[in-house]
Amino acid sequence: MSAGALLSLRHLRKEYRAGQPVLKDITLDIDANGLTAIIGPSGTGKSTLIRCINRLVDPTSGEILFEGKDLAKLKGGALRAARRRVGMVFQEYNLVERLTVIENVLTGRLGYVPAWRAFLRKFPEADVTRAFDLIDAVGLNEEFATRRADKLSGGQRQRVGIARALMQEPALILADEPTSSLDPKTSVEIMELLAEVSANRHVPVVVNIHNVDLARRYATRIIGMTGGNVVYDGPPTGLTERDLAHIYGGEDFL
Protein backbone atom coordinates (compact mmCIF):
# COMPACT_ATOMS: atom_id res chain seq x y z
CA MET A 1 0.00 0.00 0.00
CA SER A 2 1.54 3.28 -1.07
CA ALA A 3 1.53 6.00 1.55
CA GLY A 4 -0.26 8.50 -0.69
CA ALA A 5 -3.25 6.30 -1.51
CA LEU A 6 -6.65 7.82 -0.75
CA LEU A 7 -8.53 4.59 -1.22
CA SER A 8 -7.15 1.10 -0.81
CA LEU A 9 -9.08 -2.02 -1.65
CA ARG A 10 -7.69 -5.13 -0.01
CA HIS A 11 -8.74 -8.62 -1.17
CA LEU A 12 -12.20 -7.41 -2.03
CA ARG A 13 -14.57 -10.22 -2.89
CA LYS A 14 -18.26 -10.18 -3.77
CA GLU A 15 -20.59 -13.10 -4.32
CA TYR A 16 -24.24 -12.45 -5.10
CA ARG A 17 -24.73 -16.20 -5.04
CA ALA A 18 -22.52 -18.29 -2.82
CA GLY A 19 -19.61 -19.81 -4.69
CA GLN A 20 -20.04 -17.58 -7.75
CA PRO A 21 -17.84 -14.56 -7.11
CA VAL A 22 -18.36 -11.49 -9.28
CA LEU A 23 -15.27 -9.89 -7.79
CA LYS A 24 -12.36 -12.17 -6.97
CA ASP A 25 -9.81 -10.80 -4.60
CA ILE A 26 -9.43 -7.24 -5.88
CA THR A 27 -6.53 -5.27 -4.43
CA LEU A 28 -6.11 -1.71 -5.69
CA ASP A 29 -4.85 1.69 -4.55
CA ILE A 30 -6.43 4.88 -5.80
CA ASP A 31 -4.34 8.03 -5.42
CA ALA A 32 -5.68 11.37 -4.34
CA ASN A 33 -5.65 12.75 -7.87
CA GLY A 34 -6.30 11.83 -11.45
CA LEU A 35 -9.05 10.12 -13.39
CA THR A 36 -9.02 6.37 -13.20
CA ALA A 37 -11.01 4.51 -15.84
CA ILE A 38 -12.12 0.94 -15.28
CA ILE A 39 -12.72 -0.88 -18.55
CA GLY A 40 -13.86 -4.37 -19.28
CA PRO A 41 -16.68 -6.39 -20.86
CA SER A 42 -20.21 -6.25 -19.49
CA GLY A 43 -20.91 -8.39 -16.46
CA THR A 44 -17.33 -8.42 -15.34
CA GLY A 45 -17.97 -6.74 -12.02
CA LYS A 46 -16.99 -3.14 -12.82
CA SER A 47 -20.26 -1.81 -11.57
CA THR A 48 -20.20 -4.05 -8.51
CA LEU A 49 -16.70 -2.82 -7.71
CA ILE A 50 -17.76 0.83 -7.84
CA ARG A 51 -20.89 0.16 -5.79
CA CYS A 52 -18.93 -1.76 -3.17
CA ILE A 53 -16.77 1.26 -2.50
CA ASN A 54 -19.63 3.35 -1.09
CA ARG A 55 -21.46 0.26 0.07
CA LEU A 56 -24.50 0.52 -2.18
CA VAL A 57 -23.50 -3.13 -2.51
CA ASP A 58 -22.06 -4.94 0.49
CA PRO A 59 -18.83 -6.84 -0.25
CA THR A 60 -18.63 -10.45 0.87
CA SER A 61 -15.12 -10.03 2.30
CA GLY A 62 -12.13 -7.73 2.11
CA GLU A 63 -11.30 -4.23 3.22
CA ILE A 64 -12.13 -0.81 1.81
CA LEU A 65 -9.69 1.60 3.45
CA PHE A 66 -10.70 5.20 2.94
CA GLU A 67 -9.57 8.18 5.00
CA GLY A 68 -8.33 5.97 7.78
CA LYS A 69 -11.46 3.80 8.08
CA ASP A 70 -12.50 0.44 6.73
CA LEU A 71 -15.79 1.20 4.97
CA ALA A 72 -16.55 -2.50 4.71
CA LYS A 73 -17.09 -2.60 8.47
CA LEU A 74 -19.04 0.64 8.96
CA LYS A 75 -22.72 0.73 9.82
CA GLY A 76 -25.46 3.31 10.35
CA GLY A 77 -24.30 6.82 11.14
CA ALA A 78 -20.61 6.09 10.60
CA LEU A 79 -21.34 4.68 7.14
CA ARG A 80 -23.45 7.72 6.27
CA ALA A 81 -20.67 10.03 7.46
CA ALA A 82 -18.24 8.18 5.20
CA ARG A 83 -20.64 8.28 2.24
CA ARG A 84 -20.77 12.05 2.49
CA ARG A 85 -17.13 12.09 1.41
CA VAL A 86 -17.81 10.01 -1.70
CA GLY A 87 -19.77 11.55 -4.55
CA MET A 88 -21.51 9.27 -7.03
CA VAL A 89 -22.56 9.80 -10.63
CA PHE A 90 -24.95 7.25 -12.15
CA GLN A 91 -25.52 5.86 -15.61
CA GLU A 92 -29.15 6.93 -15.68
CA TYR A 93 -28.40 10.11 -13.72
CA ASN A 94 -30.83 9.05 -10.96
CA LEU A 95 -32.02 12.57 -10.32
CA VAL A 96 -35.20 12.99 -8.32
CA GLU A 97 -37.33 13.70 -11.37
CA ARG A 98 -40.00 15.80 -9.74
CA LEU A 99 -37.55 18.12 -7.99
CA THR A 100 -35.95 21.15 -9.59
CA VAL A 101 -32.32 21.26 -10.66
CA ILE A 102 -31.21 23.23 -7.62
CA GLU A 103 -33.13 20.97 -5.26
CA ASN A 104 -31.35 18.01 -6.81
CA VAL A 105 -27.99 19.71 -6.40
CA LEU A 106 -28.84 20.54 -2.80
CA THR A 107 -29.55 16.88 -2.05
CA GLY A 108 -25.76 16.64 -2.09
CA ARG A 109 -25.85 18.40 1.29
CA LEU A 110 -28.32 16.04 2.89
CA GLY A 111 -25.58 14.35 4.89
CA TYR A 112 -25.14 17.64 6.71
CA VAL A 113 -28.63 19.17 6.81
CA PRO A 114 -31.32 18.05 9.27
CA ALA A 115 -34.53 16.67 7.78
CA TRP A 116 -36.79 19.51 8.95
CA ARG A 117 -34.62 21.99 7.06
CA ALA A 118 -34.76 19.83 3.96
CA PHE A 119 -38.54 19.51 4.35
CA LEU A 120 -39.02 23.28 4.53
CA ARG A 121 -36.31 23.73 1.89
CA LYS A 122 -34.48 26.05 4.31
CA PHE A 123 -30.96 25.10 3.27
CA PRO A 124 -28.13 27.21 4.71
CA GLU A 125 -27.42 30.27 2.56
CA ALA A 126 -23.85 29.18 1.91
CA ASP A 127 -25.13 25.90 0.46
CA VAL A 128 -27.58 27.66 -1.83
CA THR A 129 -24.84 29.96 -3.10
CA ARG A 130 -22.57 27.01 -3.70
CA ALA A 131 -25.33 25.17 -5.50
CA PHE A 132 -25.80 28.09 -7.89
CA ASP A 133 -22.05 28.25 -8.46
CA LEU A 134 -21.89 24.54 -9.22
CA ILE A 135 -24.79 24.76 -11.64
CA ASP A 136 -22.76 27.41 -13.48
CA ALA A 137 -19.59 25.37 -13.19
CA VAL A 138 -21.04 22.26 -14.83
CA GLY A 139 -22.10 24.36 -17.80
CA LEU A 140 -25.75 25.01 -17.03
CA ASN A 141 -26.91 28.43 -15.92
CA GLU A 142 -29.19 30.15 -13.47
CA GLU A 143 -32.26 29.68 -15.64
CA PHE A 144 -31.93 25.93 -15.23
CA ALA A 145 -31.92 26.16 -11.45
CA THR A 146 -35.70 26.20 -11.05
CA ARG A 147 -36.46 23.87 -13.94
CA ARG A 148 -37.70 20.41 -13.05
CA ALA A 149 -35.23 17.59 -13.63
CA ASP A 150 -37.65 15.67 -15.85
CA LYS A 151 -37.64 18.57 -18.30
CA LEU A 152 -33.91 18.24 -19.05
CA SER A 153 -32.05 16.35 -21.79
CA GLY A 154 -29.77 13.43 -20.89
CA GLY A 155 -26.58 15.50 -21.07
CA GLN A 156 -28.09 18.24 -18.93
CA ARG A 157 -29.25 15.70 -16.37
CA GLN A 158 -25.80 14.18 -16.13
CA ARG A 159 -24.36 17.65 -15.55
CA VAL A 160 -26.79 18.07 -12.67
CA GLY A 161 -25.71 14.65 -11.41
CA ILE A 162 -22.09 15.80 -11.38
CA ALA A 163 -23.03 19.04 -9.62
CA ARG A 164 -24.88 17.00 -6.99
CA ALA A 165 -21.77 14.87 -6.41
CA LEU A 166 -19.56 17.96 -6.16
CA MET A 167 -22.02 19.53 -3.73
CA GLN A 168 -20.96 16.88 -1.23
CA GLU A 169 -17.43 18.35 -1.28
CA PRO A 170 -16.27 14.81 -1.83
CA ALA A 171 -12.77 13.42 -1.42
CA LEU A 172 -13.57 10.98 -4.21
CA ILE A 173 -16.06 10.79 -7.04
CA LEU A 174 -17.32 7.46 -8.37
CA ALA A 175 -18.96 7.42 -11.77
CA ASP A 176 -20.83 4.28 -12.83
CA GLU A 177 -21.06 4.25 -16.65
CA PRO A 178 -21.78 7.99 -16.75
CA THR A 179 -21.85 8.13 -20.56
CA SER A 180 -23.59 4.90 -21.48
CA SER A 181 -27.02 6.50 -21.83
CA LEU A 182 -25.73 9.48 -23.82
CA ASP A 183 -25.04 10.11 -27.50
CA PRO A 184 -21.35 10.19 -28.62
CA LYS A 185 -20.98 13.97 -28.65
CA THR A 186 -22.53 14.44 -25.20
CA SER A 187 -20.43 11.54 -23.89
CA VAL A 188 -17.30 13.44 -24.85
CA GLU A 189 -18.59 16.57 -23.12
CA ILE A 190 -19.37 14.70 -19.91
CA MET A 191 -15.99 12.96 -19.86
CA GLU A 192 -14.33 16.31 -20.44
CA LEU A 193 -16.24 17.73 -17.49
CA LEU A 194 -15.20 14.82 -15.26
CA ALA A 195 -11.56 15.20 -16.32
CA GLU A 196 -11.74 18.90 -15.60
CA VAL A 197 -13.23 18.23 -12.17
CA SER A 198 -10.43 15.85 -11.27
CA ALA A 199 -7.71 18.18 -12.58
CA ASN A 200 -8.95 21.59 -11.42
CA ARG A 201 -10.74 20.66 -8.23
CA HIS A 202 -8.22 18.01 -7.25
CA VAL A 203 -10.91 15.43 -6.70
CA PRO A 204 -9.92 11.98 -7.89
CA VAL A 205 -12.52 10.37 -10.15
CA VAL A 206 -13.01 6.65 -10.65
CA VAL A 207 -15.14 5.95 -13.69
CA ASN A 208 -16.53 2.76 -15.21
CA ILE A 209 -16.64 3.07 -18.92
CA HIS A 210 -17.36 0.87 -21.93
CA ASN A 211 -15.78 3.13 -24.46
CA VAL A 212 -12.06 2.38 -24.66
CA ASP A 213 -11.33 5.44 -26.81
CA LEU A 214 -12.88 7.80 -24.27
CA ALA A 215 -11.00 6.04 -21.49
CA ARG A 216 -7.70 6.43 -23.36
CA ARG A 217 -8.39 10.05 -24.13
CA TYR A 218 -9.33 11.27 -20.65
CA ALA A 219 -7.99 8.84 -18.08
CA THR A 220 -4.66 9.20 -16.30
CA ARG A 221 -4.81 5.55 -15.33
CA ILE A 222 -6.61 2.59 -16.78
CA ILE A 223 -7.66 -0.53 -14.97
CA GLY A 224 -8.71 -3.41 -17.17
CA MET A 225 -10.96 -6.04 -15.63
CA THR A 226 -12.14 -9.36 -16.86
CA GLY A 227 -13.92 -12.18 -15.08
CA GLY A 228 -13.78 -10.44 -11.71
CA ASN A 229 -10.00 -9.89 -11.82
CA VAL A 230 -7.80 -6.91 -12.60
CA VAL A 231 -5.73 -7.84 -15.66
CA TYR A 232 -4.30 -4.46 -16.63
CA ASP A 233 -3.34 -1.56 -14.42
CA GLY A 234 -1.28 1.27 -15.84
CA PRO A 235 -1.20 4.45 -17.88
CA PRO A 236 -3.35 4.70 -21.00
CA THR A 237 -0.26 4.87 -23.19
CA GLY A 238 0.77 1.44 -22.04
CA LEU A 239 -2.49 -0.19 -23.05
CA THR A 240 -1.68 -2.39 -26.05
CA GLU A 241 -3.90 -4.28 -28.44
CA ARG A 242 -2.74 -7.44 -26.71
CA ASP A 243 -3.97 -6.09 -23.39
CA LEU A 244 -7.31 -5.23 -24.91
CA ALA A 245 -7.58 -8.68 -26.41
CA HIS A 246 -6.90 -10.11 -23.00
CA ILE A 247 -9.50 -7.86 -21.34
CA TYR A 248 -12.26 -8.33 -23.87
CA GLY A 249 -11.43 -11.93 -24.67
CA GLY A 250 -10.28 -12.83 -28.17
CA GLU A 251 -9.30 -10.66 -31.07
CA ASP A 252 -12.39 -11.08 -33.21
CA PHE A 253 -14.06 -8.13 -31.60
CA LEU A 254 -11.27 -5.75 -32.64
Binding site: V128, T129, A137
Partner: protein, 269 residues
Protein backbone atom coordinates in the same frame (compact mmCIF):
# COMPACT_ATOMS: atom_id res chain seq x y z
CA UNK B 1 -16.64 31.23 -11.64
CA UNK B 2 -15.03 34.55 -10.74
CA UNK B 3 -17.94 36.19 -12.42
CA UNK B 4 -20.40 34.29 -10.24
CA UNK B 5 -18.47 34.96 -7.06
CA UNK B 6 -18.47 38.68 -7.78
CA UNK B 7 -22.24 38.80 -7.86
CA UNK B 8 -24.39 39.16 -4.77
CA UNK B 9 -25.38 35.79 -3.29
CA UNK B 10 -28.30 34.46 -5.27
CA UNK B 11 -31.41 33.59 -3.38
CA UNK B 12 -33.60 30.65 -4.19
CA UNK B 13 -37.11 30.12 -3.00
CA UNK B 14 -39.07 27.02 -3.74
CA UNK B 15 -42.25 28.77 -4.78
CA UNK B 16 -43.01 31.93 -6.66
CA UNK B 17 -44.95 34.57 -4.64
CA UNK B 18 -48.22 33.59 -6.36
CA UNK B 19 -47.66 29.94 -5.58
CA UNK B 20 -46.90 30.81 -2.00
CA UNK B 21 -50.11 32.80 -1.65
CA UNK B 22 -52.10 29.98 -3.23
CA UNK B 23 -50.55 27.47 -0.86
CA UNK B 24 -51.16 29.62 2.21
CA UNK B 25 -54.77 30.05 1.14
CA UNK B 26 -55.15 26.30 0.84
CA UNK B 27 -53.71 25.76 4.32
CA UNK B 28 -55.92 28.46 5.86
CA UNK B 29 -58.96 27.04 4.09
CA UNK B 30 -58.21 23.53 5.36
CA UNK B 31 -57.66 24.79 8.91
CA UNK B 32 -60.89 26.80 8.78
CA UNK B 33 -62.85 23.80 7.50
CA UNK B 34 -61.48 21.59 10.26
CA UNK B 35 -62.20 24.14 12.99
CA UNK B 36 -65.71 24.73 11.68
CA UNK B 37 -66.35 20.99 11.55
CA UNK B 38 -65.23 20.55 15.14
CA UNK B 39 -68.56 22.12 16.06
CA UNK B 40 -70.26 18.92 14.93
CA UNK B 41 -68.56 16.98 17.66
CA UNK B 42 -70.42 17.80 20.80
CA UNK B 43 -68.49 15.63 23.13
CA UNK B 44 -70.49 14.46 26.08
CA UNK B 45 -67.82 13.97 28.77
CA UNK B 46 -69.67 11.14 30.48
CA UNK B 47 -69.80 9.19 27.22
CA UNK B 48 -66.13 9.81 26.54
CA UNK B 49 -64.89 8.79 29.99
CA UNK B 50 -67.05 5.79 29.57
CA UNK B 51 -65.69 4.90 26.13
CA UNK B 52 -62.81 2.60 27.17
CA UNK B 53 -65.12 0.82 29.59
CA UNK B 54 -67.82 0.51 26.92
CA UNK B 55 -65.33 -0.78 24.35
CA UNK B 56 -64.00 -3.37 26.77
CA UNK B 57 -67.57 -4.31 27.61
CA UNK B 58 -68.34 -4.64 23.92
CA UNK B 59 -65.55 -7.14 23.37
CA UNK B 60 -66.34 -9.02 26.56
CA UNK B 61 -69.90 -9.45 25.42
CA UNK B 62 -68.84 -10.46 21.92
CA UNK B 63 -66.43 -13.17 22.99
CA UNK B 64 -66.94 -16.09 23.05
CA UNK B 65 -69.03 -16.06 19.89
CA UNK B 66 -72.39 -17.75 19.97
CA UNK B 67 -71.39 -20.52 17.55
CA UNK B 68 -74.76 -22.22 17.81
CA UNK B 69 -76.24 -19.21 16.03
CA UNK B 70 -74.26 -20.00 12.88
CA UNK B 71 -76.24 -23.01 11.61
CA UNK B 72 -79.49 -21.45 12.83
CA UNK B 73 -79.45 -18.11 11.03
CA UNK B 74 -76.04 -17.07 9.77
CA UNK B 75 -75.18 -19.76 7.25
CA UNK B 76 -78.19 -19.27 4.97
CA UNK B 77 -77.92 -15.51 5.27
CA UNK B 78 -74.27 -15.71 4.28
CA UNK B 79 -75.06 -17.73 1.17
CA UNK B 80 -77.78 -15.23 0.33
CA UNK B 81 -75.32 -12.37 0.70
CA UNK B 82 -72.93 -14.11 -1.66
CA UNK B 83 -75.69 -14.59 -4.24
CA UNK B 84 -76.86 -11.00 -3.88
CA UNK B 85 -73.35 -9.67 -4.50
CA UNK B 86 -72.67 -12.00 -7.41
CA UNK B 87 -76.02 -11.71 -9.15
CA UNK B 88 -75.97 -7.96 -8.61
CA UNK B 89 -72.56 -7.75 -10.22
CA UNK B 90 -73.61 -9.89 -13.19
CA UNK B 91 -76.75 -7.83 -13.70
CA UNK B 92 -74.75 -4.61 -13.47
CA UNK B 93 -72.32 -5.85 -16.11
CA UNK B 94 -75.13 -6.90 -18.44
CA UNK B 95 -76.74 -3.48 -18.12
CA UNK B 96 -73.50 -1.48 -18.14
CA UNK B 97 -71.77 -3.11 -21.13
CA UNK B 98 -73.98 -1.72 -23.88
CA UNK B 99 -74.09 1.63 -22.12
CA UNK B 100 -70.31 1.79 -21.92
CA UNK B 101 -70.08 1.33 -25.68
CA UNK B 102 -72.49 4.22 -26.03
CA UNK B 103 -70.36 6.27 -23.64
CA UNK B 104 -67.05 5.60 -25.41
CA UNK B 105 -66.51 8.48 -27.79
CA UNK B 106 -64.32 6.46 -30.16
CA UNK B 107 -67.05 3.83 -30.67
CA UNK B 108 -70.14 6.04 -30.62
CA UNK B 109 -69.65 9.39 -32.26
CA UNK B 110 -73.08 10.77 -31.36
CA UNK B 111 -72.54 13.27 -28.49
CA UNK B 112 -76.17 12.99 -27.35
CA UNK B 113 -75.85 9.22 -26.85
CA UNK B 114 -72.49 9.76 -25.09
CA UNK B 115 -74.12 12.22 -22.76
CA UNK B 116 -77.11 10.02 -21.98
CA UNK B 117 -74.84 7.09 -21.09
CA UNK B 118 -72.60 9.30 -18.96
CA UNK B 119 -75.62 10.74 -17.20
CA UNK B 120 -76.89 7.27 -16.32
CA UNK B 121 -73.48 6.37 -14.92
CA UNK B 122 -73.20 9.50 -12.80
CA UNK B 123 -76.73 9.06 -11.41
CA UNK B 124 -76.04 5.43 -10.58
CA UNK B 125 -72.84 6.25 -8.72
CA UNK B 126 -74.24 9.23 -6.86
CA UNK B 127 -76.77 7.09 -5.03
CA UNK B 128 -75.29 4.96 -2.28
CA UNK B 129 -76.20 1.29 -2.42
CA UNK B 130 -78.00 1.66 0.92
CA UNK B 131 -80.20 4.37 -0.56
CA UNK B 132 -80.87 2.24 -3.62
CA UNK B 133 -81.83 -0.49 -1.16
CA UNK B 134 -84.28 1.82 0.64
CA UNK B 135 -85.96 2.61 -2.66
CA UNK B 136 -86.17 -0.99 -3.84
CA UNK B 137 -87.40 -2.26 -0.49
CA UNK B 138 -90.20 0.30 -0.68
CA UNK B 139 -91.06 -0.92 -4.17
CA UNK B 140 -90.46 -4.69 -4.11
CA UNK B 141 -90.67 -5.27 -0.38
CA UNK B 142 -87.93 -6.64 1.86
CA UNK B 143 -85.78 -9.49 0.57
CA UNK B 144 -83.01 -10.52 -1.73
CA UNK B 145 -84.61 -9.13 -4.90
CA UNK B 146 -84.25 -5.60 -3.54
CA UNK B 147 -80.68 -6.40 -2.56
CA UNK B 148 -79.72 -7.66 -6.01
CA UNK B 149 -81.30 -4.65 -7.69
CA UNK B 150 -79.62 -2.14 -5.37
CA UNK B 151 -76.20 -3.75 -5.85
CA UNK B 152 -76.77 -3.81 -9.60
CA UNK B 153 -77.97 -0.21 -9.85
CA UNK B 154 -75.11 1.09 -7.73
CA UNK B 155 -72.57 -0.87 -9.78
CA UNK B 156 -73.76 0.14 -13.25
CA UNK B 157 -72.06 3.51 -12.99
CA UNK B 158 -68.84 2.08 -11.60
CA UNK B 159 -68.48 -0.68 -14.17
CA UNK B 160 -69.72 1.47 -17.03
CA UNK B 161 -67.43 4.39 -16.30
CA UNK B 162 -64.26 2.32 -15.89
CA UNK B 163 -65.03 0.05 -18.83
CA UNK B 164 -65.95 3.01 -21.02
CA UNK B 165 -62.60 4.59 -20.20
CA UNK B 166 -60.82 1.35 -21.09
CA UNK B 167 -62.66 1.36 -24.44
CA UNK B 168 -61.59 4.91 -25.13
CA UNK B 169 -57.97 3.93 -24.51
CA UNK B 170 -58.14 1.11 -27.07
CA UNK B 171 -55.51 1.39 -29.82
CA UNK B 172 -57.12 2.67 -33.00
CA UNK B 173 -54.70 0.65 -35.23
CA UNK B 174 -56.40 -2.77 -35.29
CA UNK B 175 -59.81 -1.13 -35.45
CA UNK B 176 -58.84 0.94 -38.46
CA UNK B 177 -57.37 -2.16 -40.08
CA UNK B 178 -60.65 -4.03 -39.65
CA UNK B 179 -62.68 -1.06 -40.85
CA UNK B 180 -60.42 -0.78 -43.89
CA UNK B 181 -60.93 -4.46 -44.60
CA UNK B 182 -64.66 -3.81 -44.73
CA UNK B 183 -65.56 -5.74 -41.59
CA UNK B 184 -69.11 -5.24 -40.30
CA UNK B 185 -69.54 -3.27 -37.09
CA UNK B 186 -70.29 -6.33 -34.97
CA UNK B 187 -67.06 -7.91 -36.23
CA UNK B 188 -65.09 -4.76 -35.37
CA UNK B 189 -66.51 -4.97 -31.89
CA UNK B 190 -65.66 -8.64 -31.39
CA UNK B 191 -62.27 -8.76 -33.12
CA UNK B 192 -61.13 -5.15 -32.79
CA UNK B 193 -62.22 -3.86 -29.41
CA UNK B 194 -62.91 -6.92 -27.29
CA UNK B 195 -59.41 -8.51 -27.35
CA UNK B 196 -57.93 -5.17 -26.34
CA UNK B 197 -60.29 -4.44 -23.47
CA UNK B 198 -60.92 -7.95 -22.17
CA UNK B 199 -58.28 -7.75 -19.40
CA UNK B 200 -59.69 -4.39 -18.29
CA UNK B 201 -63.19 -5.87 -18.35
CA UNK B 202 -62.31 -8.75 -16.04
CA UNK B 203 -60.30 -6.49 -13.82
CA UNK B 204 -63.23 -4.09 -13.37
CA UNK B 205 -65.70 -6.93 -12.87
CA UNK B 206 -63.57 -8.58 -10.19
CA UNK B 207 -62.89 -5.28 -8.44
CA UNK B 208 -66.59 -4.49 -8.27
CA UNK B 209 -67.48 -7.99 -7.15
CA UNK B 210 -64.99 -7.65 -4.30
CA UNK B 211 -66.57 -4.33 -3.28
CA UNK B 212 -70.08 -5.73 -3.64
CA UNK B 213 -69.38 -8.58 -1.22
CA UNK B 214 -68.66 -5.94 1.43
CA UNK B 215 -71.60 -3.75 0.44
CA UNK B 216 -74.13 -6.57 0.34
CA UNK B 217 -73.30 -7.38 3.97
CA UNK B 218 -74.95 -4.14 5.15
CA UNK B 219 -77.99 -4.08 2.86
CA UNK B 220 -79.90 -6.18 5.35
CA UNK B 221 -79.85 -3.30 7.83
CA UNK B 222 -82.56 -1.69 5.70
CA UNK B 223 -84.24 -4.99 4.89
CA UNK B 224 -82.69 -5.85 1.54
CA UNK B 225 -81.69 -9.39 2.45
CA UNK B 226 -78.46 -11.17 3.28
CA UNK B 227 -76.39 -11.37 6.42
CA UNK B 228 -77.26 -7.77 7.35
CA UNK B 229 -80.76 -8.94 8.31
CA UNK B 230 -79.29 -11.32 10.87
CA UNK B 231 -76.93 -8.57 12.04
CA UNK B 232 -79.81 -6.14 12.44
CA UNK B 233 -81.81 -8.65 14.48
CA UNK B 234 -78.84 -9.46 16.73
CA UNK B 235 -78.19 -5.75 17.26
CA UNK B 236 -81.78 -4.97 18.13
CA UNK B 237 -81.80 -7.82 20.64
CA UNK B 238 -78.39 -6.71 21.99
CA UNK B 239 -77.09 -10.26 21.51
CA UNK B 240 -73.49 -9.13 21.19
CA UNK B 241 -72.11 -12.66 21.02
CA UNK B 242 -74.20 -13.14 17.88
CA UNK B 243 -73.06 -9.76 16.54
CA UNK B 244 -69.47 -10.84 17.16
CA UNK B 245 -70.01 -14.08 15.28
CA UNK B 246 -71.54 -12.29 12.31
CA UNK B 247 -68.71 -9.74 12.17
CA UNK B 248 -66.19 -12.57 12.36
CA UNK B 249 -67.92 -14.36 9.50
CA UNK B 250 -68.03 -11.19 7.38
CA UNK B 251 -64.33 -10.63 8.04
CA UNK B 252 -63.49 -14.17 6.98
CA UNK B 253 -65.57 -13.91 3.80
CA UNK B 254 -64.00 -10.57 2.86
CA UNK B 255 -60.49 -11.96 3.30
CA UNK B 256 -61.33 -15.06 1.25
CA UNK B 257 -62.87 -12.88 -1.47
CA UNK B 258 -59.77 -10.74 -1.58
CA UNK B 259 -57.51 -13.76 -1.91
CA UNK B 260 -59.73 -15.25 -4.63
CA UNK B 261 -59.94 -12.05 -6.67
CA UNK B 262 -56.22 -11.37 -6.46
CA UNK B 263 -55.47 -14.95 -7.52
CA UNK B 264 -57.82 -14.77 -10.49
CA UNK B 265 -56.50 -11.34 -11.39
CA UNK B 266 -52.89 -12.48 -11.45
CA UNK B 267 -53.90 -15.45 -13.63
CA UNK B 268 -55.86 -13.67 -16.33
CA UNK B 269 -54.35 -10.22 -16.42
Amino acid sequence: MTDAAARAPRVWTRFSPTERIARSMLYILTAAAVVWSMKAVDIIPEFLYDAPEQTADLFRRMWPFDWSFYPKAVHDALIETFHIATLGTIMAIVLALPLSFLAARNFTSNPILNFIAQFIFVSSRSVNSLIWALLFVAIFGPGALSGVLSIAFRSIGFVGKLFGEALEEAQPGPIEALTAAGAPRSMILVKGYWPQVEPAFWSVALLRWDINIRESAVLGLVGAGGIGVALDAALNNLYWDQVGLILGVIFAVVIVTEVVTSTIRSRII
